[in-house]
Symmetry: D2
Subunit: 155 residues, 4 copies
């Protein structure tokens, strides 16, 4: 695994290990484009099996993409972190074949809790949804055993 000599390296190592186990993200074709300390960018192309009865991308799929960006952002230091609650505002309908990108950034961190904002955009750069996630840190590693390998302090 080599040296994790900066935040980006740590975040990428955590993300790789998480992604290998993340059947849902892989099943939807979600790709982890970039991760760093408390941030992540992920993307996905809308498939036929993601369309709702109006034949546009199901809101739940857009939420899942945003929630995935949120998860990789808030676990980026290998502190196991879960979503307490999330909200999403839907802005634009998304069609079959469109590529969506979700960018998650930490807005607030306080005690064990945090708030992350995620923007979901299409290829034109139009915002199609905005998401806000409230996180809660557990006293555990996101990827058990990884802190030792990365030389990180115990959680």
């Amino acid at each position: 695994m080599g040296d994790a000599d900066n935040d980006g390296d740590i975040a990428r190592t955590v993300a790789e290990e998480m992604y290998a186990l993340d059947s849902a993200a892989r099943g939807l074709g979600i790709v982890i484009d970039e991760v760093d300390n408390n941030s992540a960018r992920v993307s996905m192309v809308v498939r036929e099996d993601m369309l709702n009865s109006h034949r546009i991308c199901h809101g739940g799929v857009m939420f899942t993409l945003a929630d995935t960006a949120f998860a990789y952002a808030c676990n980026s230091r290998n502190v196991s972190t879960l979503a307490l609650s999330c909200s999403i505002d839907f802005v634009e309908a998304v069609a079959l074949g469109e590529k969506l990108t979700a960018v998650a950034e930490k807005k607030i961190r306080k005690r064990r809790t945090g708030v992350y904002d995620v923007t979901v955009s299409n290829e034109n750069g139009d915002t199609v949804a905005i998401f806000r996630g409230n996180s809660y840190q557990l006293k555990a590693e996101s990827v058990p055993g990884l802190n030792d390998k990365l030389g990180l302090d115990k959680t």
Copy 2:
């Protein structure tokens, strides 16, 4: 299609037509168990491809189940209705193989907007997530042309 002589009949007819087009719901194995005027109950069994990196059901999948119940509830009178915004609180982790049920009910309707509450439960009846959706009615039918067949007024 026959006579739609009450709210339940109308809601079921709308739901059948919507479901036939709802690739995302069908792809996740979501079943529409019951619909009525402004309410819906849907269910799903958690599959391997719904698990996240912690090997529990992805929050986005739970959201999608709840959002689907919300959609069938708020389109139950064939008035095309979309989600403006939604929020979800996650309560319990859900494991592979668990059957989840989401029940949506109208909480508020005002002008073109509404609020629906959805409770997601496991087979033990434990609440695993609660969802609140804000809806917005368009001037269109959920299933175009169905009002004529059902003898409903124009939207």
Copy 3:
């Protein structure tokens, strides 16, 4: 202070002590009508100094009433509990002189966090707003020293 021989007695004792310090609630004329374990009912009459530029009750005042019910409900066991986040849906405009009542009930409690739902109604029983609060328990008493007097376990 006497014996606190049931949940209601404990909740009422905590509420009395809190209310004595709660300048904001008292300043708005909010009355604590009833408290019990994890629930509270509070009320208020809309005054001229609570009106916004549309000359209806300011949304912030309605929020404050709901938030107050939430606070008394989630501190009812003398475990110091704060609001992490709250959301409110506004349903009906409220006029000068109307009496509003907010009823808070626990929806979920998990680890140190909880979710409470609050309904704000007018005198006709119409819902004018719905509120959802996410709570977080600290390792402290709501009213320091009261656990000893009430014979409650340490937090």
Copy 4:
């Protein structure tokens, strides 16, 4: 009233007229520091009658400040706009005497609905709360008759 030759002039004129009627904002000592097209900055000093039972600023008062910034931002073009729903995340406790500033900016506008983000900060520039408001435009003027004076199109 003179010429309203740009967005800022229009917004300031609307704000002045609104503020004259806004008993709640004035009662709390809220000052409208700056308004522009779809944005507003307002401030307030925390008084004794704004403290809750923990003797920190009541969450409802912080919400009211944020909601006021939101209201002036989304009415800045004299299109009567109300809050459908709002959410707030509380970050830091605020003490007696602290000066709070709330800055509202439009995040999204779609059909008649919009999303505005508000950040509430203390004098050190620390974020003490973040607020997100969902707005809904009515077919009416915020200040009736002002469009004519300002030379604005009918809503």
